[in-house]
Subunit: 422 residues, 2 copies
């Protein structure tokens, strides 16, 4: 008998019919002898509906406790879906009980709308499991030291599920979603894309941060920190498929180095076109310029992704970085009006028509020449590389966005990802 955590996204909980299917699937696992904890999201559309009402009443933050109230409001979505799932499980003949974050409790800090989990008390949940109950815990939310309801931000239910699995030392945390696993790249771009049976925690972390929307990045970080075996699989298979088959489906995110040794050098190709490039040109090369430029950007609450400073030529250097496209106009304006005069730099130039393409693979650590193979492959397609950034397990390039699909396909082929690693 193992303790298993299931997490179901909003689409999987999107109607009473789907909730009934979730209940049947969970009941199947429980009847197979597992202790079951389920973390559901709100019914799809519900969080947007609630926050839409708030926006009608106050389009913008009008009080310091505005965010506190948004959390009180949004948290009702998961409380309702959790209670409904408990009722559906009871209708399947199971004993089931649902808990809101504060009832477990899942303790967080007080950063409303983006709180961080600090601790989870497992006493109450364990007592229920030992009494043969399926325990449902609201995703996305917790409670702070002052008994205020907090939420973890969008996608926070993944994080809740992993944190609960960690606190309960679950054998596995199964993230049921609308895709059937993690792919070598997006199958809509490369039809030959292959589902990975396993992917290392570090690779998943890079893929999540590079735009693969399968898992929320914080949940992957959490899984890594607490070594929670995590599996991404589809909630749209028939609920009554063989449980052994289901338990092996999807993609397992692993933590053991050994399992990786057999793997391909590169596991996947990630990409996104959400970013824009900004360069400050002709910056006098002296200590403190990175802080002068990025400090101003950070103060304006703009997140920066890639940062590149070229070598100095004649005492002048160029400083480039990428931001989210939504922040591009604001960042450019800020640099032109405030930073450029103070720095004595020549100009600020920007480009929103870029994309970032990355190869990710834990195997890269021990293999030389991977990056150069990437660059050669892109060069053979006539694709110009604008920026390069590397880490131990990934290499990212910024290129013209019109070449994105071409680049992804070329790299997928160059690293032979369409073939099984086995």
């Amino acid at each position: 008998m193992s303790l298993i955590v299931h997490k179901y996204g909003g689409t999987s909980m999107g109607s009473t019919e789907r909730i009934r299917n979730v209940a049947k699937r969970v009941a199947k696992w429980a009847r197979a002898g597992h202790q079951m904890v389920v973390v559901p999201s709100a019914m799809s559309g519900e969080t947007n509906r609630l926050l839409g009402l708030a926006k009608e009443l106050a389009p913008e933050r009008t009080d310091t406790s505005y965010d506190r109230e948004l959390d009180m409001l949004a948290a009702t979505g998961e409380q309702a879906s959790s209670a409904l799932l408990a009722i559906a499980l009871q209708a399947e003949g199971m004993h089931a009980v649902s808990y809101a974050g504060w009832q477990v409790p899942i303790r967080t800090n007080s950063a409303f709308t983006k709180a961080r989990i600090e601790s989870i008390d497992d006493k109450r949940v364990r007592a229920d499991l030992d009494a043969g109950r399926v325990v449902i815990i609201t995703g996305f939310q917790g409670v702070d030291d002052e008994s205020n309801v907090t939420t973890l931000g969008r996608g926070g239910s993944d994080t809740s599920a992993v944190a609960v699995a960690a606190a309960l030392k679950a054998k596995e945390c199964l993230i049921y979603t609308d895709v059937d696993g993690v792919y070598t790249t997006d199958p809509r771009v490369v039809p030959e894309a292959r589902r990975l049976q396993t992917v290392s925690f570090e690779e998943m972390l890079e893929m999540a941060s590079l735009g693969s929307k399968v898992l929320q990045i914080r949940s992957v970080e959490f899984a890594g920190k607490y070594k929670v075996p995590l599996r991404v699989l589809s909630s749209f298979t028939e609920w009554n498929i063989d449980i052994h088959e289901e338990a092996k489906s999807g993609t397992l995110i692993t933590f053991e180095e050994d399992e990786q040794m057999e793997q391909a050098v590169v596991s996947g190709i990630a990409f996104n076109r959400d970013e824009a490039k900004i360069s400050v040109v002709g910056v006098p090369d002296k200590p403190g310029i990175a802080y002068q430029i990025l400090g101003a950007v950070a103060e304006a609450n703009i997140e920066v992704d890639m940062i590149i400073q070229n070598i100095s030529k004649g005492g002048l250097t160029d400083f480039s970085f990428t931001v989210h496209r939504n922040d591009f106009a604001r960042a450019t304006e800020l640099l032109k009006s405030k930073v450029l005069p103070a720095l004595g730099a020549t100009e600020v130039i920007g480009d929103t028509k870029i994309c970032k393409v990355s190869i990710v693979g834990i195997g890269m650590r021990s293999h030389v020449g991977i990056a150069s193979k990437m660059f050669r492959s892109l060069s053979e397609e006539g694709i110009n590389i604008q920026m390069i950034s590397t880490s131990e397990i990934k290499t990212s390039v910024v290129i013209d966005e019109k070449y994105m699909e071409l680049a992804v396909r070329a790299l997928h082929k160059a690293f032979e990802l369409e073939q099984s690693a086995a």
Copy 2:
């Protein structure tokens, strides 16, 4: 500076536009120097929507903790409307904070779906009020000793508001609703019906229990127990009417005997046609028959209203009582199959086409002949009385339901209720 509690029903909270109006009204009171606590219901339709989803998943109770989950589910309605009201108040420039029942906490017993309030901690709320915040407290819900969410049952928000007002020793609890006060009788039946400026707690209790839907009876009981001055008034006046005018509008439910002395003998005519009459005929008149008959009915969880036992004739008596029409078939069947044989009674007869009409007035205590005036008035209209029941401040009769409007109009006129008491 007084502490005032406002309660708004679901219709008053039915849309963002209406919530904004509630916020403007509350802000007006706060700006006039009052410490404000607001208890809102869920947005109209929301509780039914949520319970409808539950019904789709499990049409009937399937587990001992089914009711617990219904409460978890239904409680989200008030949590959402409370947060929305806080946001609307913030948009009006007020500092506002919302609390769910468990956060106050409002402690209840564990009778899910019909819990009773046991205590309310006023510490947190007082600290907010002293800091100049408007405090919003979810109606309808509380928390039991095991940190389970409980609800007080339909209409429980009235009770929440009165209980909060009692705990905070509020100067007045204003129940904003879709009618503008308590009337001498239903104006749809008697166009001359007059709004009462004041009504005694005991009269209100009788009127509430007799079918006047203005206030939930438990909230009136609570107000009586803790002597909370309660005012029923309309939420559909313009929010910006003069606050002194608003503060005197509606109907005040009072506890001081003195104020009653000036009042008319009869304050109002209540009626309902939700009941059915059952008679057990030819019962051998011996000790224990009431228990034998009503014990069986009570065990089947059927509530009994009027109970009448006629004097014995020839060692046999007739025993009559009224139940809700929904319970009529079940009660009759039960009596025929179980009780009749054991009692040795002749037969069980019933009638669903009845109604109950009552005159209510605290002045009846000190006036003789009120009941006989009622009976004469009905007799003059040719209305036959089937059952009579009296208490200190009311006299009720059961008559054929087709005479209901006629009886109400005749009594309203006979007791001169269309004229002002002043």
